[in-house]
Amino acid sequence: MTVANPKRPAPSAPRPYHFPRFERRRLDNGLSVWLVPLADSGLANVHLLFDAGAAAEDEAHGGVAALTAQLLVTGTARLDAGAFAEATERLGIEVSSESSWDSARGAFQALPQHVGKGLELLAEMVRQPRFDPAEFERLKAERLADILQARADAGRLADEMFLRNLYADSVAYRRSAAGTPETVSELVRDDVVSFHARQYAPDRAHLIVAGSFDTDALMRDAERLLGDWSGTSPGHRSIQPTRASGRRVVVVDRPGSVQSELRVGQIGIDRYDPRYFSASVMAALLGGVFGSRLNRRLREELGYTYGAHSTFDPRRAAGPFVARAAVQTEVTTDSIRELLGQLDGIRATAPDEAELREVKNYLIGVFPLRFETTGGVAAAIEPLAIYGLDDDYWQEYRGRIEAVTPDDTHAVANELITPDELLILLTGDASKLAAELREADFGPMEVVPAE
């Protein structure tokens, strides 16, 4: 063979990297403006956030927040759906509007020369939406059809059924932020109109602009386009996450499936939890990097899956913690056994320094890569705006990851992974799986249809 270079090359001296400096201003009507100038960017990203996510709707109108956000791009009082699309796209701008549990966001990315005009159209969109009745009916029908499509997809079906079985009936988080067929089909145009009138107001809104733009011109535009907007929004309700039951196994029958989609987990943490950083490190060690315990065992040793992952989904209230993998039908039971074994393992002993070091180095080292794009920087401001995290959050981020110890990881695993609360859910072919799953006795088990 050739002359080998057997040794890992030593790194050279690292160049320091800091999260871009930003400035926060406020219009008289309460609207916050976050300005993040980036000298090297050839683009600008504009995000306009409202406290108008699913947490701001009531359960009888589940999905109204999502439908409202989606409808915004279908035109303004002045421009119908086609004209609004023309006006924005001829500037090379694709305006998006979407919502999650905790916020709604209208946004676009543009070449610098089109930022002012884009902001004009974005402001018009959120202030004078058209809510065309025909567009309302169309998007509502699309949403219902999408739910149908999602249920045909094994992975999306498993996600939906996991939440439905995880949270108690009274908890909004048991369904998708986009609503259920039952609630969406009941929505009428007036629901959207009144949701918009109530929730889209300047006092809790945030305008984030990152990239290449002129600060003075941008502020003038913001004042002109959004400064004379008045009104206040009631904000969001508080959600009290409680679990549906103790440990149990739910098999969602999907006859003919060649794989089982596994979801194992429980209610996790909220975004304000002081254990956020230790939980993030623990989840990465368990299933957040390629060499994480779940992926190493289930994929690289056993070949049961294309990939295994674990994540927290922190929101204003506690979102789910879930470990997931799509495994071939024949090894479903053993995969669950292995997965539970990894959850036991991370509870049993603290990770050694070297294993923790690798994961922390990843989370710390990857920091500048996350903010390589203008959109990445704009998105990074969002949690500060939505959750009120400290302005020095990103300055402190790497230090807080670094401070997580093996004992912290061990402690948080024991606090947040509790075997008698685990929901073990899978979509798969019950005719092939039910008997051996009963025999394995992972917990009280039920088989439900994929409806």
Partner: protein, 457 residues
């Protein structure tokens, strides 16, 4: 538009090098394209190029199994690899002071993979890839679309007749001998392009590249490119209906089109955007918004270089809509654009969207590096990265109409329709899936990745 700086070099062993410096952030992207993809696979070996790509992460002489991922991630980097019809690419983005780590890892497996290969590793990754196929194709609504389209667009025996993921049967048959042969044939410095983009000092980077890759010998017997020639048109309309576990019918329409890199391909790329890019596009406006026949609509001109590429459209019906009506409406819009379009306003719209899209894509060093490698492997012309926008903007209405008239013809069309199956017998369903895998072959017009879904950052 950004001007991407380009500096070219070549090592004595034939490795072509593209350097593109940008020190705005202390990160660097390393990207290697090997001029080998699933089109190079022999009969009975479908899926092997991709399985081999997985084996490239199983260690090499000085790198243990799993260490490639572990080292790069522990250095704060991201990485993956993908296999497609025309090529296999491997890439890392990492803090710039760890540049040589990525070079060393890539060089060790380019030069010294085989000492680390074992039957156990092959068996493991074979299982992983089979699960990738189950996940992406067999257990996925509409998941077989691209293997079916390729099998219908290209004749038996053509290198694009099968797609990248491969059949279960062929994956089962892959052996360690195949690994050795494939490696010896294709994984040579004179069959690869290495791009480094981002924050680096050119002299130091070149020295490191020479140090790591210089000792690897060329393959003096590198095979020529496979014969990809094919009639420019199919010569008839081919129709197939698939009964599958899908809630809504979906219609795929696909044409044999000129290859990536030709003027006609550029014109058809513009046509694809006129048809379906954005909410003001013709198909979205007509089929989705106004007539409400479709739930969604997509058009894609694939960047394939061998013989003929594919121009593919698909649309999912709205509930209650007849799929034949949707198909007619889709074809009707194509005809209309061929005869009346496009207007100056429509061209302005897609050009501005395209320019903003290029600017946005090239913000990422990994994408910049990948395109530089691509243009070098496919055309020996990395500078094409700087003419993407001008090539697109040079396409006028007449070129769009002419290219559409040549390609989007009734006698050059495959129509593949997915219809909801009547409540299937579980056993019958499983058999159908197995049969599809064994007989018509393979999957994924999209590149197939090694690492699984990107881990959450």
């Amino acid at each position: 538009m950004p001007h991407i700086p380009i500096e070219r070099h070549q090592l004595d062993n034939g490795l072509r090098i593209v350097l593109s410096r940008d020190d705005s952030t202390p990160i660097v992207a390393v990207n290697l394209w090997y001029d080998v993809g699933s089109k190079h696979e022999q009969h009975g070996k479908t899926g092997f190029a991709h399985l081999f790509e997985h084996m490239m992460f199983q260690g090499s002489e000085n790198v243990a199994k799993g260490e490639h991922f572990a080292q790069v991630q522990a250095a704060g980097g991201t990485l993956n690899a993908t296999t497609w019809l025309d090529r296999t690419n491997y890439f890392e983005t990492l803090p710039s002071h760890e540049l040589e780590l990525a070079l060393w890892l890539e060089a060790d497996r380019m030069g010294r993979l085989l000492p680390a290969m074992t039957q156990e590793k092959l068996d493991n990754q074979r299982d992983v890839v089979k699960n990738e196929r189950r996940w992406a194709v067999d257990n996925q609504p509409y998941g077989t679309w691209d293997e079916k389209l390729q099998a219908l667009i290209y004749p038996e025996g053509h290198p694009y007749h099968h797609s990248t993921i491969g059949s279960m049967e062929d994956l089962s048959a892959a052996s360690l001998d195949d690994v050795s042969r494939f490696f010896a044939t294709w994984y040579a410095p004179n069959n690869a392009v290495l791009t480094v983009a981002g924050d680096f000092e050119p002299q130091a980077a070149l020295a490191a590249i020479e140090r790591q890759f210089g000792p690897i010998p060329a393959n003096a017997q590198l095979p020529g490119r496979p014969d990809m020639s094919v009639e420019p048109r199919i010569g008839q309309e081919i129709r197939e209906v698939v009964h599958d576990r899908v809630p809504l019918p979906r219609v795929y329409v696909s044409y044999r089109m000129p290859t990536f890199g030709t003027d006609a391909w550029d014109a058809l790329e513009v046509a694809s955007d006129l048809l379906a890019s954005g909410r003001a596009s013709r198909l979205y406006r007509s089929l989705v918004r106004e007539r409400q026949l479709a739930q969604d609509v997509t058009v894609f001109a694939f960047p394939m270089v061998g013989g003929a590429s594919m121009f593919t459209l698909w649309a999912t019906t709205r509930p209650g809509v007849d799929h034949e009506e949707l198909e007619q409406a889709l074809l009707g819009e194509i005809e209309r654009l061929k005869t009346d379009g496009p207007s100056a306003e429509e061209l302005e719209r897609v050009r501005n969207l395209h320019a903003a899209g290029v600017e946005s894509s090239l913000e990422r060093l990994a994408e910049r590096a990948d395109r530089l490698s691509m243009y070098t492997v496919l055309f020996d012309a990395p500078e094409m990265i700087n003419t993407e926008v001008s090539r697109y903007e040079s396409v006028g209405a007449e070129r769009v109409r002419a290219a559409m008239a040549e390609t989007l013809r009734d006698d050059n069309r495959v129509v593949l329709t997915y219809l909801p199956a009547d409540v299937p017998e579980p056993e019958a369903e499983a058999e159908v899936a197995a049969l599809a895998g064994a007989e018509t072959g393979e999957a994924m017009a999209q590149p197939v990745e090694a690492g699984g879904e990107e881990p959450a950052r």
